[in-house]
Symmetry: C2
Subunit: 167 residues, 2 copies
């Protein structure tokens, strides 16, 4: 199983690190992609290495896409190749998991229309505007899409990701 995390500076630290460590615990290979290779720094100060550049990603190499929140998605959503990667995951019905502001990337990619989904409360207006069936719930699964609202939802978020990966 190969996991792709797309993020950037000012990620929500636990929303990146908890899924990252969980996937490594499970024995999966994890790539972290950002605008450029190199260290990226979370809002709370944790640093992780983005070992891939978004421009070099071939989505066919991965089984699941994870989109952490924080302020990173506001930048990620401006990168056309990041939106293209998300669309390819959806086209191939491969799992996509977005937490908090991570949903912004999916909104910009035009992928939430008619989807049952959740996100950070301040992102809810634009998610509804984009045509999603938004609900204020710790985790929502709709087809290949898993969404959660915030760090405290991480246990429920990870549980549904693991369920989808292992069925």
């Amino acid at each position: 199983m190969k996991v792709l995390i797309i993020s950037a500076d000012n990620f929500e630290d636990t929303e990146l690190l908890v899924p990252y460590y969980r996937m490594l615990e499970e024995g999966h290979e994890v790539d972290i992609a950002s605008m450029e290779k190199g260290m990226i720094k979370g809002k709370k100060g944790y640093e992780v290495e983005a070992n891939r550049s978004i421009s070099d990603i071939d989505s066919d190499d991965y089984d699941v896409l994870i989109l952490p929140g924080g302020k990173a998605p506001a930048e990620i959503r401006k990168v056309p190749k990041a939106l293209e990667i998300a669309r390819e995951f959806f086209d191939r019905k491969k799992p996509v998991a977005a937490i908090c502001h991570g949903a912004q990337t999916l909104i910009s990619a035009g992928l939430v229309k008619d989807m049952h989904a959740t996100c950070y409360h301040s992102v809810a207006p634009e998610m509804k505007e984009a045509g999603a069936r938004y609900e204020d719930k710790e985790v929502i699964v709709d087809g290949n899409l898993i969404t959660s609202r915030q760090p405290s939802d991480l246990p429920a978020f990870m549980k549904e990701i693991m369920k989808m990966l292992h069925k």
Copy 2:
């Protein structure tokens, strides 16, 4: 399964939050105990609720003890009841998992003598002094004791905790 985490202000944020969320993902009940009930704050600024006071803990209520690192253990190790709880887990051969500076609590409780264990590099001298068979390794399991060195060891640490809990 019931999990006890003992920590205090200035905990290493991921070393508390990653095991906490992982146990909740698994459906386990988790109590966080500190000197007093109430919010405790990590070195990086995350806050969690200590829903128990160490003085009120009956170790018989729990199946596993987790000791995160950071600067918290330097205070926890001064609390006689915390050391007593750790000793009771060892007496009953129940799993105890300590990461980073978390091992300081076990050192003060006199529990590492002749144990094969690891810890944060700066704690290594006092761990050796206390008679442990120290090794610089991401995770070490010896009897009921699981130890790791630092946040980046969390995947290996959690893997061994889950293995011990489910056997």
